[in-house]
Amino acid sequence: MSAARSEANAGGSWLGLYVLAYLVFLYLPILLIPLFSFNDSIQAAFPLQGFTLQWYATLYGNPALSSALANSLVIAAIAASGATLCGITVSYMDLYGRSPLAATISAIARLPILIPGVIVGISLLILVNLVGFGPSRLAIVLGHILVALPTTVVVMRSRFAAIPKTIREAALDLGASDWTTFRRVMLPLSLPAVLSAFMLAFLTSFDEFIVVFFLAGTEPTLPLYIWSQLRFPRSLPTVMALGTAILVVSFVIAGLAEILRHRGLGASRRTAAVNPA
C-alpha cells in the first residue's frame, strides 16, 4: 500500500513539472507583449534595446484610440447587461418553468457554442441589413449578446441549481408569488453569480473581434482599432503598450469575477463539507 502511494506521489511530482511547463507555454508568448512594450525599439526582437515609457506616452491624446475605447466600453456594458438578463431568465425558467418551451429556449441559447464566430457574424449581418439598421453599434450589441449567452446561461444555471430546492419551496409555501420568490429569494441568493456572469460577458464583448468585424459601422471598437494598427510596423510598439494595459485590466476583472464566483459557491460547499461527518 505504501509502495503504491509513493509511486503515485512520484507520478504526481512528474505531472506537477509538466503542469509547470504547460503554464510557461501558456504565458510566455503573452508576456512578450508587456516585455516589448517597454523596449526602446520599433522592432520586437532580442536583444532588448533599453527601457522606455515612450510607447505608453503615445497612448495619450490619441482621439481614434479613445473613441474606440469609449465605444467598446459602452457596447460591452450594454451587451453584458443583455446577456446576463437573458442568462438569468433562461436558466431560471429552464430549471423551474417546467415547460418544453423553456427547455427549448435554454437549449438553443447554448447553441452558439457550436457555431463558429464567422457564421454568427454573417448571419447577423444579413439579419441587421434585412431589418434595416445595418452594421452599427446596435448590431454589435446583438452579436455580443449571442457570443456571451452560452457563458451566462451556464454560470447562472449552475448557481440556481446549487441553491437548495427547499428554499424556493419554502418561499412558495409561505405564500410568496412566483415573482416575489424570484426577486426576493432566488435572485439575492445568486447575486455573486450574476456579477460574475456580467463580468465574463463584459470581457467577452470587450475582447471580441471575429463577430464584430462584420457588424461594425463607422465607429470601430478597440479590437478593430488594434487590427487596423497591426498593419503598420511603426505603430506596433504602441499596440503592445495598449495590449499591456488591456491585459492588466482583463486580469483584474477576471480575478474579481473568480472571487465572486467562489463567494457564491462557498456557502453551498461549506454546508456540504459539514454534512458528510
Binding site: 418553468g97 447577423l124 475582447d207
Partner: protein, 295 residues
Amino acid sequence: MSTIAAGQSLPESRSSPAFRFAMLLPGGLVTFFLILFALGLVLFLAFRGNNGSLLGAGLTVANFATVASDPLYWTVTLRSLAIAGLVTLATVVTAYPVAYYLAFHAGRRRGLLLFLVTLPFWTSYLLRVFAWKIVLAYNGVLNSALIESGIWSEPTLAFLNTPAAVVVTLAHAYAPFAILPIYVALDTIPKSLLEAASDLGAKPFTSFRRVVLPNSMPGVLAAALVVFVPTVGDYVTPAMVGGPASTMIGSLIQSEFGKANDWPFGAALSVCVMLVILCVVLVARDADRRFGSRT
C-alpha cells in the same frame, strides 16, 4: 436533470402567466429571432443567386454545385479540417495531464491553478495571436534566440506563414477551452471506483486505462468539440500568421461577405461548414453514448 423535477408536487395555481411571459420573453426573442431566424436566413440565402441585392434572386443550387465541383473549395475545406483536427488533437492531448493533475494531485493549489489556466482565455484573442507573430517572425523572438545562442547563423523565414504556425497559434489560443471539460469529467468520477479498482488488484496504470480514461471520455469529447468548432471557422489566425498557403474556409466566407461580395455563395459555404460541424457533433454524441454518458 433531477432539479427539473424539483417542486413538481407544489400546486401550480400560483404560477402567473404574466410572470412566465416576462421571464421567457428576453430569452425567447434572442433565441428565436437572433439565432434560429438568422441561421434560417443564411440557409435561405444559400439557395439564391447573386444579383447584388440583399437576399439575392431566384432559387438555385448553383452555389452548392460550385462548392462541390471546384477543387479549390475541397482543398480549403480539407485543409481547414486538417488544421482544426490537429489543433483539437494537440490541445486535448496536452490538456489531459493538466486536468488529471488538477483533479487528483493539486490539493490546496487547485483553485489557484484552475484560475491560472483559465486566465489567458480572458485576454484579447487578437493579442494572443499577435504574440505568436512576434515569436515566429523573420526578426522575431525565436529567430533572434536561435542566432544569439549560436544554433543558427541566419534568421529563417520557415516559421511564419506556414500551416504549422497556424496550428501552434490556434493550439495556444484555445488551450484553456480544453482543460475545463476534461477536469470536470475527471473530478466527478466517484473516488470509490478508483478504490475498488486498486482493492481488486489493479496497478495504477491499469486502473487509469480501464477506469479513469473511459470515465473521462465525455469530458474529452466535449473539450474536442469546443476547440474544433471555433478553430474550423477561424479567419484571423490564418490571416495573421498563416500566409497564403493556409487559407481556411473561414477566410473564404469572410471574403465572400467582404471583398468578393457574393453573399449567397458565402452563405452556401457557411451551410457546408455547419453540415461538417453537425457530422462531427453526431460522431461525438455517438462516441459519448458508447462510453456511457454521465452528462
